[in-house]
Assembly symmetry: C2
Homo-oligomer: 337 residues x 2
């Protein structure tokens, strides 16, 4: 059905269309790529490709444009991820190395990726679920207020102000802190609820109301935020592009954490570290856009996902190369800190 030449024609169509943004005709195609056949032959192949739904023409008597199915075939079988240049690699390395804390790492990463791909970059904050507790701190603010600070091994810090039901002395707070740390230090976050379940019973009865309050806030912190935070950058790169779904819809999706989450995360099935590509209508929430994403994190401990969002007509090999490279470097940085 699809012999080698037809595939070559499809590849050529995708490449030309991506670079020129104009429907590509048989004549130009036969010339620019040295296919060694005449335009007429190319036309026959194109007719076959169109028959199978890989390409389509916007109007009668215009050139051909790849369909989502066409891009899919191109990504799966016709293209190779393009590695970055040495200069780019060095630029990434030095740029990321300057980060001072987790916030900074994420901010730098998302900007870097946006700049590298000239598209919208999206980065999810490292998930708490798989990380471990490094330290729990209780800081007395007033006699009825305590600040709870949770520090994880990924360098993430969560803080909450807790209103206590009654006045508690500082020494008791210090004791509670010691108990909490003894109990939780180094534990995975997902194990925390079990570990603290019987804690109130092991403490003096008079402290129990306060302890219960603090623990409930702690648990809330764990479940509520665990992977909701997502940032993006490079919205300016949308200015030129034309989305079938409308620029407004894209911008709204970007500011809607929930939608963004779904877009990034939905495909993180078996092998989170693999590149996943969603093309156009394969994308359930934002038709007319494509997403290239991957997990990141040290080794088998995948922390979160990052990726790029752009028009269906994007340079997939280059974009995939950039996403993969950035994910690797960020993973290194995080593992080192």
């Amino acid at each position: 059905m699809l012999d080698d030449r037809k595939l070559a024609v499809l590849r050529a169509i995708v490449e030309d269309y991506v670079s020129t943004n104009e429907p590509v005709g048989s004549k130009a195609l036969a010339e620019r790529h040295n296919l060694k056949v005449s335009p007429a032959t190319v036309r026959n192949d194109m007719a076959a490709l169109e028959e199978d739904g890989y390409i389509t023409q916007p109007h009668t008597s215009a050139g051909r444009v790849p369909t989502d199915k066409g891009y899919r075939l191109f990504v799966d079988r016709l293209s190779q991820v393009k590695p970055l240049s040495g200069a780019e690699r060095r630029a990434i390395e030095t740029f990321l190395a300057g980060a001072v804390d987790l916030d900074d790492v994420v901010t730098r990463t998302v900007r870097l990726l946006a700049q590298l791909t000239r598209q919208v970059a999206v980065v999810q904050y490292p998930t708490l679920t798989r990380s471990t507790v490094r330290h729990v701190e209780l800081v007395p603010l007033t006699d009825r207020r305590v600040m709870l600070v949770l520090i994880t091994n990924t360098g993430r810090v969560e803080q909450r102000v807790v209103e206590l039901p009654e006045v508690v002395e500082e020494t008791r707070i210090a004791h509670l802190r010691a108990v909490l740390n003894a109990c939780l230090d180094g534990c995975g976050l997902s194990a925390v609820p079990d570990l603290v379940a019987d804690l109130p019973e092991r403490l003096p009865a008079e402290d129990r109301p306060a302890v219960a309050t603090i623990l409930s806030v702690l648990l809330e912190t764990l479940v509520e935020r665990h992977d909701e935070k997502i940032v993006f950058a490079g919205a300016a790169n949308l200015a030129g592009a034309d989305f079938t779904t409308g620029l407004r819809a894209v911008l709204e999706a970007l500011e809607e954490q929930v939608v963004l989450m779904r877009l990034l995360g939905e495909t993180s099935g078996d092998t989170p570290s693999a590149l996943t590509v969603r093309i156009g209508s394969e994308n359930p929430y934002l038709h007319g856009t494509s997403i290239v994403a991957t997990g990141y994190g040290s080794g088998d401990n995948q922390l979160a996902r990052l990726g790029v969002l752009g028009p269906t007509r994007m340079d997939y090999p280059v974009t995939m190369g950039a996403v993969r490279a950035v994910a690797r470097y960020v993973s290194q940085i995080l593992a080192a800190s």
Copy 2:
């Protein structure tokens, strides 16, 4: 020169143009607002207003459009800040009250403001400079690494990982923590450098390298970030609007912290809590856009600024009302926590 009727005409032109986005002609104007005079009279007034540079016509024989100077006069003398409806006030209150920490307050604020004004909202994080130290925490991570956590009275938390030049025992770290807190608790951040200057000399000589390292990181944290962080929301609201300067330029400015800072801050001269409005070309960095901003923070302790960015053709009374109201509510929330 400008009698009352001419001013009324100018006001009518601004209001009509803002609501219809089309150049407004003498006839429609005389009808819609009951000016009790004929279109011909209005035309004469318009000619005078144009002579003085308050309005202009895009082409010969089109209606008139306000100039930046016209908007300026409108804002200064012809309009009144429009207070929010009761329902809107309640919505703000409940929405902001649900915030769990400073991050959350800022995020909610910026979204709220964007939604309320249907434009781009910009919020600067509370400045560290004027706030005071509530607690300094040193958490040992490994035997050569310490996490430094700085908590301010505004609920802001800064954390840094410090690499120590040599192994330091935990007890010494605990001691240093106690000394630091005794020294800094409750002090204004700007006073910190002076207060810690002689600290190394008051400690055992063997600890000095470590102490010096920690202090340098602490000072770095203070100066580096003190008012650089700014967030925005509502970029989707730009989709419909047409900027003379180009959508791309606006989006780029929004992602460039430095530019954004300048836009918000430049006008915070004498009375930071007053509303400042920059119209079109008055705006040095982003022509063709207007900015409505104000300071926020409890009472005379102004912490930072927030505002709205939109096309020059915006509804100033409503926007100013929203910005002022939100700033007040945020100030309340921050003062209470």
